[in-house]
């Protein structure tokens, strides 16, 4: 069965000091200098079930998961925040294709500020439990300070006090975040809205949009599109090592006692190389479209185990090959060619570059100047539960 997508728990970007505490050991995230390093680091700097994640000063990380029903889950952790994350594995089989992934099942917010899109995950904080009470999947902000927890809803939420077990449902005005706040203390729930919203909540709301831009494009000089374009050019360069295929000498091969199947394969490989325009994807597609799998199975050097595996896969391969020989193959070629040109255009787009630099500068300034006012004294008249 073919695994067509993997949606593992991870992060879309980070900046500053990020620590993961796993089974008593602290793993400090390393700083990557560029995309190449970043992708290598993401292989070893993983997020796992039960991890305690801590952000330092001027540090932000955006954690990501995907639920089985294909909803994106995210937690944007602000500077000096801490949480414990729980996840569970899922798999989904459709025909002969399998999707696997990890969804966030529970988020224990310990301290700090978070923008949470749980898409079904359980969310708790020291004084409160937060549940969705709306048709839409919610995104909300939680600010945990010593004396209370503040929930800033985007849609209707049910907030329960862990101490009193009393619940309260919020109705944020016009479904907009930042126009209502629920304050949960050890003894009750308080609600403020509109002009009574605290200055700190407004400041958090402003920072939310800016910190959402913390992704690898923010972290490095080279943009993601430039990186992809560079990698594509590099892979074309590596194809050049097969340049000798252009001058394939069949007579010499016969002299070297190669089997007719081997010579045929070599000829076909050379033809595909010539028509691929040095694109590894076009080369691979051409090879697949023209491969004689039965002959390949009987090639010298193929082990009996390999032959058996190939025999089992043969009907499926032939079916796919037929599909790819027709219009589907041509369409795929056109799609690959298009994607390449699109990537080249986007990688050299001065407007994208300018916009990104502006966003980077904004996010950097927001991190450098990150400071929030304190909450005023909580007045009893705001008590709702």
């Amino acid at each position: 069965m073919q695994v067509v997508s993997r949606n593992m728990l991870g992060y879309s970007g980070y900046v500053g000091d990020i620590s993961v505490i796993r089974k008593g050991k602290t793993i400090k995230f390393e700083k990557a200098k560029n995309y190449d390093e970043y992708y290598k680091l993401t292989e070893k700097q993983t997020i796992e079930d039960g991890d305690r994640i801590v952000t330092g000063k001027k540090s932000v990380i955006i954690l990501m998961g995907r639920s089985k029903d294909d909803k994106l889950q995210s937690i944007n952790m602000f500077p000096e925040s801490e949480l414990i994350i729980h996840c569970k594995d899922w798999e989904q089989v459709k025909g002969d294709e399998k999707r696997i992934g990890q969804e966030i099942s529970k988020i224990e917010l310990v301290k700090g500020i978070f923008v949470v899109s749980p898409a079904g995950a359980e969310v708790t904080c020291p004084f409160a439990e937060i549940e969705n009470a709306d048709d839409k999947d919610p995104t909300f902000i939680v600010d945990i300070v010593d004396e209370f927890n503040v929930v800033i809803p985007g849609v209707k939420l049910k907030v329960t006090s862990r101490a009193t077990r009393k619940s309260y449902e919020t109705f944020p005005p016009w479904g907009m975040m930042g126009l209502a706040e629920l304050v949960v203390t050890k003894s009750g729930i308080y609600e403020k809205s509109m002009e009574w919203i605290d200055k700190r909540v407004t400041a958090i709301q402003s920072a939310t949009g800016i910190f959402a831009n913390i992704n690898p494009d923010f972290m490095f000089e080279e943009s993601g599109m430039e990186y992809s374009n560079r990698k594509s050019k590099e892979s074309e360069k590596t194809m050049e090592q097969y340049d000798y295929l252009k001058d394939l000498d069949v007579e010499k091969m016969k002299g070297a006692k190669m089997s007719p199947e081997q010579i045929e394969l070599a000829k076909m490989t050379a033809e595909q190389y010539k028509s691929s325009g040095k694109s590894p994807q076009a080369f691979a597609l051409g090879m697949f479209q023209n491969m004689d799998f039965e002959k390949l199975m009987n090639m010298p050097g193929i082990t009996p185990e390999q032959r058996e595996q190939m025999k089992q896969a043969l009907p499926q391969m032939k079916k796919m090959q037929e599909e790819f020989k027709g219009g589907k193959g041509e369409q795929l070629k056109a799609q690959m060619d298009f994607s390449k040109r699109y990537m080249e255009t986007a990688a050299g787009d001065p407007v994208i570059k300018k916009t990104m630099q502006k966003k980077k500068a904004e996010a950097q300034a927001a991190l450098d100047e990150y400071s929030l006012p304190s909450y005023p004294k909580l007045l009893e008249r705001y008590k709702v539960a």
Binding site: G327, Q331, F338, T345, V351, K354, T355
Partner: protein, 266 residues
């Protein structure tokens, strides 16, 4: 309707685009009703029923696409007159309600855009139907596809003409904020078209209207940005060009939606 293989799927598409336009008329009628402006509410209703009575004729005569376009001209006049009458009324009564005025201008624009969508769709479909009838059995499908594509290409070039002109005028103004938007549309103009062409052979359960609106939604946003940049720059010339570009864009994407229907021929 003469039994063209395009009639069934074509009619479904036509109905979807017509419903879309009708909704825009209904919205105008609703707002005027809420405002107790009965005369204007009736104008919106009359414009809709005028469109409804022309629809059948437009579809049956669509194989002569020039006739189809001229049929929609009459409906276009309705919205232009309604808009002018409303502006006059608003000014003469000194209504001083910016939200209401801006909202109505938005609604009138929606009618114009949706009419352009309808016109583009019916025009390209008509061209394909005519080609299908004219061609021999063997190359009929190819002829229909080519005819549809020619309509799309023509609409695309019209749309390109206005965006190019906008970009040139904006460049002369030297306002980078505006040229960022127009140069981006120009930069991706052919690529965006190619992306749509690549989408045509894919199977889809969506009706052609929803499919084209989904695929071109971000472009719609960019064009709306052209308009708002022109407005903030207080450039009447740019505003006019942005409006013309948006109408041309809608004709183009309406025509493109017909390609989805034509591709069902095989």
């Amino acid at each position: 309707m003469g039994g063209s293989p395009l009639d069934g799927p074509g009619k479904k598409g036509e109905e979807a685009f017509a419903e879309f336009l009708s909704k825009a008329y209904s919205e105008i009628a609703r707002v005027f009703k809420d405002r107790k402006m009965e005369q204007f509410e009736n104008m919106a209703k009359a414009a809709d029923s005028n469109f409804q009575s022309l629809r059948q004729a437009a579809f049956s005569r669509a194989k002569d696409c020039k006739s189809a376009s001229s049929l929609t001209e009459a409906v276009e006049d309705d919205v232009v007159s309604m808009q002018s009458a409303f502006i006059k009324e608003y000014q003469s009564k000194e209504m001083d309600d910016d939200g209401f005025f801006t909202g109505m201008m938005y609604d009138f624009r929606q009618v114009k855009y949706r009419l352009a969508l309808y016109r583009g769709f019916i025009g390209a479909l008509g061209a394909a139907r005519a080609a299908l009838e004219k061609a021999g059995k063997e190359d009929a499908v190819k002829a229909a596809k080519d005819a549809g594509m020619r309509e799309v290409e023509a609409a695309k070039e019209e749309y390109r003409k206005y965006v190019t002109e906008y970009d040139q005028v904006a460049s002369k103004l030297g306002n980078g904020d505006i040229t960022d938007v127009s140069s981006t549309i120009m930069r991706y103009f052919d690529l965006s078209h190619e992306a749509l062409v690549l989408e045509v052979p894919n199977k889809s359960s969506e009706n052609p209207r929803d499919r084209i609106l989904r695929l071109t939604g971000s472009k719609e946003g960019e064009l709306s940005n052209l308009r708002s940049k022109a407005y903030h720059a207080k450039s009447v010339e740019l505003e006019k060009l942005a409006a013309a570009a948006t109408i041309a864009f809608n004709t183009y994407r309406g025509a493109f939606a017909a390609l989805f229907v034509i591709s069902e021929l095989g």
